[in-house]
Amino acid sequence: MTPGSTSPSLQIDRLCCVRGDRTLFHDLSFAVSGGELLHLKGHNGSGKTTLLRALAGLLLPESGEIRWQGENIRALREEYARHLLYLGHHNGIKGDLTAVENLRIAAILDGYALDEETAWRILAEIGLRGHEDLPTKHLSQGQKRRVALARLLANRATVWVLDEPFTALDVAAVQLLQDVIHRHVADGGIAIVTTHQEVAMIGANTRTIELGRRDA
């Protein structure tokens, strides 16, 4: 968590994103602060993924600003990335590396060391016991997703941006992931999550925004 007394806050100010010819959303404004879980809903093509990629700083919005602690994330760049964890449609793991290697490399690139022992413990916790040192290309779809999700347990980022984290997960894993997200929020973090299926994301401080309602 960030040192100092200020609570983390992410502000979205009149954001507008265009894909090809389509304006996905227009003048979208909202704010999320520490201890809040934002649940984004919307039909396919309503711009959920685009919004999340913009929030992660991957996508340059047509206009509008996203501010982290009052400063535009475009200006902050690496400083913002330090506080961010983004999980997209792709798992972001290398098939030729083992789960442990994947987790440790991700940790080092994220700027903190993760020793071998902790990596093994986290992978066991997420239900990959016995698969830790297998190249991940040999794992099932659900297991690969778990490797990706293991980063949530290892990471110290404040802002979690998760795009469809529940896909390809079984019931037990869904339950585990929900617990992890709620724990993160309870600790004062921010979580922004999209789902298209009805996964109960209800808990304290949950807010839902539905995209694609008003016709832009």
């Binding site: 992660a56 700083g57 991957l58 996508l59 340059l60 690496e78 400083e79 990335a81 330090r82 961010l84 983004y86 997209g88 449609h89 792709h90 798992n91 972001g92 793991i93 290398k94 098939g95 030729d96 590396l97 290697e101 490399i105 991700a106 080092i108 690139l109 994220d110 700027g111 190249p135």
Partner: protein, 222 residues
Amino acid sequence: MLEPLYWIIRRDLTIAMRRRADVFTTLIFFVIVVSLFPLGIGPEPETLRQIAPGIVWVGALLASMLALEQIFSADHRDGTLEQMLLTPQPVSVLVVGKILAHWLVSGVPLVIMAPVLGLQYNLSADVLLVLMASLLLGTPALSLIGAIGAALTLGLRSGGVLLALLVLPLYIPVLIFGAGAVEATASGLGGQAHLSMLAAILVASLVLAPLATAAALRVAED
């Protein structure tokens, strides 16, 4: 800054070692292309000796360009590239790491193989030495410049051909000084000046190319 650099190189080398077959494809391409020319031109030793620097250099240039097409595409497909853009590390440093690893795997074998191919063309020992030196300085520059093109064409339909169209004109100075060094040595003029120009190009591209590549990667992941 050096730690992520070390880890990204280590990561890419580990992956390359686990799929060793890919490493040899570039090398075999290089050998075949260079061996084709005598068949097209004729076995006259004097003619071959004269055109050898150009041929070996063009062969190395094409091989390195073909290998570059793959430098970011696997990471792009599995999503690790977008994760790299979201780390607190400067993207250009990670890019340098990736290019360096890529060069170690695909460029260094070319440098080592070149003298063997030079023997096919009757080059003398000192010329072979300069050939190696010029490739040692030139191929990393090719990788650095080519990476810009690879990032710009990432995920496009006509990626491979387009990459060639974008990158080959930019390769011209490296080719001129690289092949020039070998030729100057063969004709007794000495290749020192050429080699120092190559070194200058290498340094310049080491400073500038990763910035352009990082910017292009951000655009490609947009």
